[in-house]
Symmetry: D2
Amino acid sequence: MAQNSEQSLLILQRLLADGDAEALRERHRPRLPEEQPLPPRFRHSAAKTPEAIEARRTILREQGIAIDQLCGSDDRMDPETLEGNIENYVGLAQVPVGIVGPLRVNGAFASGDFYVPMATTEGALVASYQRGAQVVNQAGGCTASCLTESVIRSPCFVFDRAATAGAFLAQVLQQIDELKQAVESTSRHCRLLNLRPSLLGKELYLILEFFPGDASGQNMVTLATEAVCRTILERNSVTPTRWYIEGNLSGDKKATMLAFLSARGKKTIAECVLPEPLVRRYLHTTPEAMFRYWQISVLGGIQSGSIGVHGHYANALAAIFIACGQDVACVAEASVGATRMDLTDDGELYVSVTLPNVICGTVGGGTHLPTARECLQMLGCVGEGTAPKLAEIIAATVLSGEVSIIGSMSAGDFAQAHASYGRKKKS
Amino acid sequence: MAQNSEQSLLILQRLLADGDAEALRERHRPRLPEEQPLPPRFRHSAAKTPEAIEARRTILREQGIAIDQLCGSDDRMDPETLEGNIENYVGLAQVPVGIVGPLRVNGAFASGDFYVPMATTEGALVASYQRGAQVVNQAGGCTASCLTESVIRSPCFVFDRAATAGAFLAQVLQQIDELKQAVESTSRHCRLLNLRPSLLGKELYLILEFFPGDASGQNMVTLATEAVCRTILERNSVTPTRWYIEGNLSGDKKATMLAFLSARGKKTIAECVLPEPLVRRYLHTTPEAMFRYWQISVLGGIQSGSIGVHGHYANALAAIFIACGQDVACVAEASVGATRMDLTDDGELYVSVTLPNVICGTVGGGTHLPTARECLQMLGCVGEGTAPKLAEIIAATVLSGEVSIIGSMSAGDFAQAHASYGRKKKS
Amino acid sequence: MAQNSEQSLLILQRLLADGDAEALRERHRPRLPEEQPLPPRFRHSAAKTPEAIEARRTILREQGIAIDQLCGSDDRMDPETLEGNIENYVGLAQVPVGIVGPLRVNGAFASGDFYVPMATTEGALVASYQRGAQVVNQAGGCTASCLTESVIRSPCFVFDRAATAGAFLAQVLQQIDELKQAVESTSRHCRLLNLRPSLLGKELYLILEFFPGDASGQNMVTLATEAVCRTILERNSVTPTRWYIEGNLSGDKKATMLAFLSARGKKTIAECVLPEPLVRRYLHTTPEAMFRYWQISVLGGIQSGSIGVHGHYANALAAIFIACGQDVACVAEASVGATRMDLTDDGELYVSVTLPNVICGTVGGGTHLPTARECLQMLGCVGEGTAPKLAEIIAATVLSGEVSIIGSMSAGDFAQAHASYGRKKKS
Amino acid sequence: MAQNSEQSLLILQRLLADGDAEALRERHRPRLPEEQPLPPRFRHSAAKTPEAIEARRTILREQGIAIDQLCGSDDRMDPETLEGNIENYVGLAQVPVGIVGPLRVNGAFASGDFYVPMATTEGALVASYQRGAQVVNQAGGCTASCLTESVIRSPCFVFDRAATAGAFLAQVLQQIDELKQAVESTSRHCRLLNLRPSLLGKELYLILEFFPGDASGQNMVTLATEAVCRTILERNSVTPTRWYIEGNLSGDKKATMLAFLSARGKKTIAECVLPEPLVRRYLHTTPEAMFRYWQISVLGGIQSGSIGVHGHYANALAAIFIACGQDVACVAEASVGATRMDLTDDGELYVSVTLPNVICGTVGGGTHLPTARECLQMLGCVGEGTAPKLAEIIAATVLSGEVSIIGSMSAGDFAQAHASYGRKKKS
């Protein structure tokens, strides 16, 4: 998850842009429900009666949130709006959406009490995140910080020998400014942040890091990469035998150590501190027991050969990605990271989640589709500069899920929860 | 992807169950379109006019496939049918579905020409898979073999010392038959296939492999694991200090080397051989050029620290999982595997995909929801014993996607394809 | 580090072979210095005067240990004894040997107070292990258990199609007994323990696990694998296009997740419990501080993408391997594993090291060379059945090193230790 | 293996320092034996008679190489010279040394025909490398390029919250120049090249990359890191709760993806092109067969979960490290990398090895010990600026080993080679 120092400095300066460190600290400060009351939460979570659904709708309406598209009360979507989204189109798959909320987030970009839409068919999932959100809320909410925004592409240039590749590279490294300009000509938003070469014998891979604006950015960076490559090929006196716009080193659509180490997408951290009484009351266990289980889960993850170590990030990611019109295949790469638990000197439970690869956007892709738009609006993630806000809400939700599942494992009620929520009643 | 020898034998015997090796070879035999014509494919893939959609619907109807739910012509779903699927339910997210098809599969379980529903908002994705399917079809289709069906859970038992853990384990290893019975008492379908201990100091993890029937099976194996643990704890004279139903060694919802090595879910292989003229005609490149790029992608994948090495399995997995009511979070674990290309002595392109961890099911989870049900019916994957068929269709689709993207990278038209399909027209 | 259940049972039965579980527990019991005094340790560890060396020699002699070869007082080795060890021989490299000891081990195979020879040129290394050994001794020594003894080879068979590979495999799986016999015909000691197939498209890899007796066994299993392959090829009615005696899946001479998961070589665990007063006195820190640092080191290891997670196993492995005539290149594969620290309810520090891949032997390779022989004799590791004993002593030494370095990191005196030991004096 | 662009440029400029790109290309040009005859090679490689050894000694003497220390004809070493190398010293372990050579290297730093000392007890090893060297020589030798020289340390700073860590980091990033000065005050040679932060929740790891001069540098960078940390702690207004000089993220003494990706030690590439007649004559196989096996070995390596993919780098590394007084434990981290084979348009075999983590030095550590010194002198690696030369010779030897083993696997004579060289004669 390492950045080089220049980039890191830019990142931190951005975090502090509209104020000083003190202002950021203030945004990150817990807001206890006693001081600042929470908006209402839903009751009877399992109920699917019209009354129950209407009650939820009312609560959301009072918060200024419309769910007409989700409820199907609006007209069906005009397929023509799907231009650029799909081919051989025949209709719409439907995935049920449940709400986790309110979830109090004291983020650098996301500040507020959010109702988070999760599209899933896995029983107990929403209930589990809701339980986590509840204990997080009672502790004053969680912090969240989106540290980076970038997407990687890695074109590859093939030569006859390593030395020729090196001669080519020597020229590329002196063309960085031109490459940056070439990228900016392809899009108003896209910028080339960094170029790192990786030479393996006679094949030269370039790891290009782009800033994608509020888009998740895969298409954008493909076009930008083409511009980079064309510029290089025009300018360079050394010519490769062959070249490819992507050499499969970018970590696109798959879990990789590269992305874990260097951040692909939005690197985001969320954290909270849970006092013992809250852990006892809401999770029926203790900070110490959860900390113990966390160690077991880390050692288990290490033995399994996972990338990073955590509980079930993919559950939140997939559910929010479907609801919010994201590229769901990116769950593969986004679901790596590290959950950290610790005991504070006061016996509280410290919890953080670090997600180096949250690929998400608030423009482009499926974000304009009716139900997706509604879900993004529910989160206040429509309009310029909202992509890091979305990443922070995602991380906060992921945190709630880690708190809940680790609480459940520690308390020993995991199987029971699935038995009661995740099954049809026998009748 | 290794099995032990007893399990492997069982697997192969099952593959051959309704016939001998000769019969399997016959099922795997390519069926050229000249011999056995293909059902019609869609035209004007980008069009979303009512006429275009109706034309697609007509083609499907003639193949006996209804898409009323996808088209929204049926009544809205009764939320009460969502019992066991979701909590805090408010409505339905909609994801556009495009069809890749026909795709000719000559599988051990899946034999036929399939229209594969893919739910996605990523432009060019369906078109790319369609292109791959087309060249695969012209070559007589692809083979597919679902080799294993299993799901892993890994409870953890904590002791004061490694020696105590060892004494506990010695007893467990003599209780295997009782544990198998305990599992069978929890479900008609679930069976304990294998128990492997992993001792790390004083902590004993058990890797339990279950057969989940046609369900994807995560809930089923949670309950089965609880039965295993309870039985062990009752019978065993050595008592652990603590125990957990899941020690995070099972690879649930994340990419792991463990699962890549030992198969979590349905290990499935699909393969085809593409003659040069077809590669030239449909992919505008040559077998040799694709084989060259494959090497570059393998070396790129290795440098990225991915688990296995491939192009973009997650795209097919996510799109089919959403359409077919699967647990989409499992894209995280399912999207590992290995794509193999080779040149035959005749200069044809051999392509295979090996997916050790396809987690899918045809009962349970979201499979009964209206649009999901319709999509599963489209694939003929409703009814007992259809889960491995679904896995094979998924692998065949994944194969088409690898053929297409690697073709595109080799031909140098990847960026162009995204520019033409994946964008709104400027007007 | 998982075994299948049949193998695991065999392993545990062997551990209990000469007694019941109670006897093993007795062997594992700490022996406090107050009850059972330790043999003398060396003083003035940095001194290299003739007197200092002679003093050490005297201590060893009193323990029945000769070091004439190490001291160079014997005749030079006759090069003819190097037959089968080296080609283009010109002479002998010399590596200084320091002694860590006594180190009290209460192992399943290794029981006693050992003087461990370490060949190294890295200043502070021996002193650091010595410090760890000292605190381990004061706590009554460490336990050690060699759980498995196996070496892997992985021949690969190539076919035209996956289905042909499957038909070939179906026959192999019914030939296991013949393959076992074929292996036994190649060596008195070698046995085939397990055969696991791994099918990747049209290529079939077999993971063969052999028991190598007291040898480290790489040559032995190469010949055994050839016998396995020849037998398969003679018996099988399906013929591969090509085959290779090793498909690079065995983890030979490199760190792999496969070996970490399934044990390559001798899987060995060592552990001890250190009371707080000892930690304070010998390591100048506390169990809690060491436990805290352990967490940091685990999270650091995860971020680095290591296989397993630990401090510096390679230091002990390389030093003992050189001293004892082992195959030093195997440090690459042996130096993976997991260090576990925990706090007991009484505030003591629990420490274990789990090494799944200790490749070592007491016959064959370089074990008969004069200085190696002397070092093996120093450890009582000459004669039949001593290989697991050697593995346990190695693990115990590794444990001492982890205790020392983590103590040093926690106390903040790591840099200082290197400054005082690892440098020439400025004069 | 990626560098950032500024560093990469510096690296390339250094490679070109004493000339232009043309001069480097000239240094890399193959020198065929017909044009420039090779110095003599040894005969009767297995013989250990006094005559055979004397014949080898004569050949070396004629090349200006003395091996008195290796032959034991000089006086025994004075133990006092071991100050700073070892504690509890008792004597010297002896490891037989065989010579691989001549090996023609056309490197950026290493240019010449080298006799490479390998200390090992594994029969057939030297013979195998010799075979590889011979075919490389006949093809005009191999190129070699040491691209980077760096060593990593990763101190860790612990805070109460991520935001505090971020505030601390913001200050660190503005102190880079002071940190560079602090480093330079600790050593004449050491320089801080790069600082990359990695924030995981509340814990901040800094990845510090140092230039170590000609030393392998581990001790040097420990002291430099302490200087960096002390400077940060003095200057920074935010204070960590705790800090550690090494957070186990540096990849020290273990194989890691971090180091594979970012180069730890000397990243070095060696390559050669072997015409078919040479492959047939010396390796009894064809370029095509070797290229085929290479694919199998890559797919096997991927399945094994190795870091990078290659045959047996550790064999050369361990043998040269022991002979040349290197830190042998670093074999663990140095033995990762990637071997690349390809067929040229003319049907020749292209082979490269890329080793991102060669940790080696020509001053400090064990390099001054008598036999090590002699071995370094044999390679012309004594004196300032010779460390990259040593890295290139190591990479060239590794290349020879990959050529030989892959040739052997392809020709099917691997087992036979071990049977004839690696065993005692039965008498």
